[in-house]
C-alpha cells in the first residue's frame, strides 16, 4: 500500500463570532483557494473530498451539503462526510489513498458554534436514555473529569493553570488564535470558579472557524509539497458512552491508540484538549516526557472551532514538518464527552 502525506493545510482565524452562515461556505471558500495556491493542486485533480461537521451545531439539516457549494461540485465529485471532528474525515481519506482508490484528497471541517448554545448542544451526543434527558452540558461533564483527576492525584489545579498560561503565551505567536497573553499561574488561580473545579480559562473558548487539509499518496506528494509530512501511523479508539463506567482520570482509548503507533523521535505534539486538565491527561496517557513540546500553536485553549480543531492539530503538526522545524510530530484529535474517542497520528519528514 502506498504511503500517504499531508501536503497542504490552511485554517481560518479562530474568532468568537463570524457573520457568515452555519454552512461554512464563507469560511471555506478562501481556505480552498489558499491550499490550491500553496500546493499547485487543481480542483479537477482532487480524487476525494471528505468533511466533518454537525447539523446540530448548524441548526439545520444537511448543512454539509450546502458546504459542498464552496467546492464547486460540477462535474460531480467523489465526496463523503463524518458527523464528527474532521480528523476522522482525514482518517477516511488516508484509507482511500492507501488502498489506491484515489491519489489525492481534500479534507475540511467547519463549525459556527456562536449560532447556538454549544455546551447544551453537546449534551445531545450523550446516551439518549440515561444521560441526555438530564441535559448534562459539556463543561459540567469535563468538570466531573477534572475533579476525578484531582482527587486521584493525577493532576493539580496549579498544573492546570500552568497549562493555560503556557497556551496563552504560545498563542501570542499565532496570528489566528482567539485568546493569547501573558499570565502567571497565580493570576489565573485567583480567578473565580466557573464550573467548580474548572475556571473559565480552563475551558476552550466558543469559536467559529474552519480548517482544510490536503493529503496525497507517494506518487503525488513531492510534486505538491517540498517537504511532505508523511503519515507514519494513524489510529483511533473509542470507549463506552456510559460516563460512570470509565475511569475519567485517564484515557484507556488514547493508551490503546498510542500502543498501535511508533512515536519514537517525536519532540512536538499538538493535542486536542479543549479543557486544561485534558492536556495533562493526554500527555500521561500517550507517555510524552517533558522534552516533548505540546501545542506550540497555543492549542484548543487558544481557539477551538468545533469539528475543525482536531483536524487543525494534524495540520499544525504537519506545518512544522513542512517548514523543517521538526522531523517527527504527533497529532491528537478527540470526539465525544470527556475524551471518549481519541485519534493519534504520527507525522515524519522522512518516509
Amino acid at each position: 500500500m502506498t504511503d500517504v502525506a499531508v501536503v497542504g493545510y490552511a485554517s481560518s482565524p479562530s474568532v468568537r463570532e463570524t457573520q457568515g452562515t452555519t454552512n461554512g461556505v464563507e469560511m471555506l471558500v478562501p481556505l480552498f483557494s489558499e491550499v490550491f495556491a500553496e500546493t499547485g493542486l487543481r480542483k479537477s485533480e482532487v480524487g476525494f473530498w471528505c468533511s466533518g461537521s454537525s447539523d446540530y451545531l448548524a441548526g439545520r439539516a444537511f448543512s454539509f451539503i450546502a458546504a459542498v457549494d464552496a467546492i464547486g461540485a460540477v462535474p460531480p465529485i467523489n465526496e463523503s462526510h463524518v458527523e464528527m471532528d474532521a480528523a476522522w474525515a482525514a482518517f477516511e481519506a488516508m484509507v482511500a489513498i492507501r488502498t489506491g482508490e484515489v491519489d489525492t484528497a481534500v479534507v475540511y471541517g467547519f463549525g459556527k458554534s456562536s449560532a447556538g448554545e454549544l455546551r447544551k448542544i453537546l449534551a445531545l451526543q450523550l446516551d439518549p436514555y440515561t444521560l441526555a434527558p438530564l441535559w448534562p452540558d459539556s463543561v459540567s461533564v469535563a468538570a466531573l473529569q477534572a475533579r476525578a483527576g484531582i482527587d486521584a492525584g493525577a493532576w493539580t489545579e496549579q498544573q492546570m493553570a500552568e497549562v493555560v498560561a503556557a497556551s496563552r503565551r504560545k498563542a501570542r505567536a499565532n496570528p489566528r488564535s482567539q485568546l493569547s497573553g501573558e499570565y502567571t499561574a497565580e493570576e489565573l488561580l485567583a480567578q473565580p470558579r466557573f464550573a467548580d473545579p474548572l475556571r473559565r480559562h480552563d475551558c476552550a473558548p466558543v469559536t467559529d472557524g474552519a480548517a482544510v487539509l490536503v493529503l496525497a499518496g507517494a506518487e503525488r506528494a513531492e510534486d505538491l509539497c517540498e517537504r511532505p509530512a508523511w503519515i507514519g501511523g494513524m489510529s483511533h479508539r473509542v470507549e463506552t458512552p456510559h460516563l460512570g463506567e470509565r475511569d475519567l482520570s485517564t484515557s484507556v482509548s488514547t493508551k490503546a491508540a498510542a500502543a498501535d503507533l511508533d512515536i519514537g523521535g517525536v519532540r512536538l505534539a499538538e493535542l486536542h484538549a479543549p479543557f486544561s486538565h485534558q492536556e495533562i491527561l493526554l500527555r500521561q496517557a500517550i507517555g510524552l516526557d517533558e522534552a516533548v513540546e505540546v501545542n506550540p500553536s497555543g492549542g484548543p485553549l487558544a481557539g477551538n472551532p468545533m469539528f475543525a480543531a482536531g483536524l487543525s492539530r494534524i495540520g499544525e503538526a504537519a506545518s512544522r514538518i513542512h517548514d523543517g522545524s521538526a522531523d517527527a510530530a504527533l497529532a491528537h484529535a478527540t470526539s465525544g464527552p470527556a475524551l471518549q474517542q481519541n485519534l493519534l497520528c504520527v507525522l515524519r519528514g522522512e518516509r
Partner: protein, 315 residues
C-alpha cells in the same frame, strides 16, 4: 447581514427494548435496577451490553437508592431542561450494590456543601413517566434502608421514551442572501451572477456550486417567468395554506438560470403545463417583509407557451 432567531424543536420517540424497558419501569416504581454481568459486576444505570466483553446482558438486580459521590462539579447557572432550576451539583454516584457510577444532579446549597465520598440518596419526582428524570435529583444523607422500606420491584416493561428536544440558534443569512431578502422587502427580486460561468442565481448563493466562488454582480429580475416543471398537490398536511388540489411549480424567472419553487393559482390545476408563462402576484405593499412570500403566488400571464428548448437545460 440579516439574522433571526431560529428555534427548532422535535419530540424524539425511542423504543426502550426489553432491558432498558425494565430499568425504566423500575424508575416509575421508585426502584433503581442494575444489569449484572457474567463477572458479577453490577452496572447502574443498566447497560444492554457489557462495556468490557460486549456480551448482551439480561439479568437485572435492584440496588439501593443511596450511594457515594465519586466525583462532582458545580452547575452555577443551570440551563433549561436540567434537573434543577437553582444552582446544583452534577455527580457520578455509585449506589450501594452497584459497581459503576450513575450521573445525576445533587441538590445542595453551594459547592462548599459537596465533597467526594459524601453519601447521597435519590429523591423521586412526584409524577413519574418511566424515565431517568423520575429521579428528581439526589440529596445529601442516607436514604431509606434496603430492608423493608423500599417499594417492590415491578414486573413491567416500559415501551417508549419521548424526549422533547428544543434548541435556540441565531440564524444568519449570507451576504448574498441578505441583499436578496432586503430587495424583496422593496418589491424587487434580485439574483446574482457568477463571475466565472455567468449564470444568474436566484436566490443568490454564497458560492456558485459549479465554480466555488461567491456570486457578486446583482441582476434585477422581472415578474415574468416560465414554469419548467410542476406537480399537483392532492394530499392535505398540517399547516397547508391552500385547499388541495393546487399546483406547486418550478418557476424560472426571465433572466435567471435557476428555478425556485412557488405556487401557481389563477387557473385550474389541470390547465398548468410545462412551458406555461406566468407572472408574480405580489401581496399588498403593506404586507411586504424580507421574505419570498411577498409574492403570494404566480398566475398565467397570457403569453404563448415558451418553447421546450428555451428551458430544457434548466430542468
Amino acid at each position: 447581514m440579516l439574522s433571526a432567531p431560529l428555534e427548532p424543536g422535535f419530540d424524539y420517540t425511542r423504543s426502550y427494548g426489553p432491558l432498558l424497558g425494565r430499568f425504566a419501569a423500575g424508575l416509575r416504581a421508585c426502584r433503581i435496577l442494575g444489569a449484572r454481568g457474567a463477572d458479577g459486576k453490577v452496572h447502574v444505570p443498566a447497560v444492554e451490553y457489557d462495556p468490557e466483553t460486549a456480551a448482551a446482558l439480561s439479568e437485572l438486580v435492584p440496588v439501593s437508592p443511596t450511594g457515594t459521590v465519586r466525583t462532582w462539579s458545580w452547575q452555577s447557572a443551570p440551563l433549561s431542561g436540567q434537573p434543577l432550576e437553582q444552582p446544583f451539583a452534577w455527580a457520578l454516584i455509585q449506589l450501594d450494590g452497584a459497581d459503576t457510577a450513575m450521573l445525576h444532579a445533587v441538590e445542595a446549597p453551594g459547592p462548599e456543601a459537596m465533597r467526594t465520598g459524601m453519601r447521597v440518596h435519590a429523591r423521586w419526582a412526584a409524577e413519574r413517566r418511566g424515565a431517568i428524570t423520575d429521579i428528581a435529583c439526589f440529596v445529601p444523607g442516607e436514604g431509606p434502608d434496603e430492608r423493608g422500606e423500599l417499594p417492590e420491584v415491578p414486573d413491567a416493561v416500559e415501551e417508549m421514551l419521548t424526549s422533547p428536544i428544543h434548541l435556540s440558534y441565531m440564524h444568519s443569512a449570507s451576504p448574498q442572501e441578505s441583499t436578496y431578502l432586503r430587495e424583496l422587502a422593496e418589491g424587487r427580486v434580485v439574483g446574482m451572477r457568477c463571475p466565472v460561468c455567468r449564470k444568474v442565481y436566484v436566490p443568490p448563493r454564497g458560492a456558485c456550486p459549479v465554480d466555488g466562488v461567491p456570486t457578486e454582480e446583482e441582476v434585477e429580475l422581472g415578474d415574468n417567468a416560465t414554469i419548467t416543471t410542476f406537480c399537483v398537490v392532492n394530499v392535505p398536511f398540517p399547516g397547508q395554506r391552500i385547499k388541495p388540489p393546487y399546483v406547486c411549480a418550478y418557476i424560472l424567472l426571465d433572466g435567471a438560470d435557476i428555478p425556485f419553487l412557488h405556487i401557481v393559482l389563477g387557473c385550474a390545476a389541470s390547465e398548468v403545463r410545462m412551458g406555461m408563462r406566468v407572472r408574480a402576484a405580489w401581496k399588498p405593499r403593506e404586507e411586504w417583509t424580507t421574505n419570498l412570500a411577498n409574492i403570494d403566488h404566480f398566475t398565467p400571464n397570457g403569453e404563448p407557451d415558451a418553447p421546450f428548448e428555451s428551458y430544457a437545460h434548466h430542468l
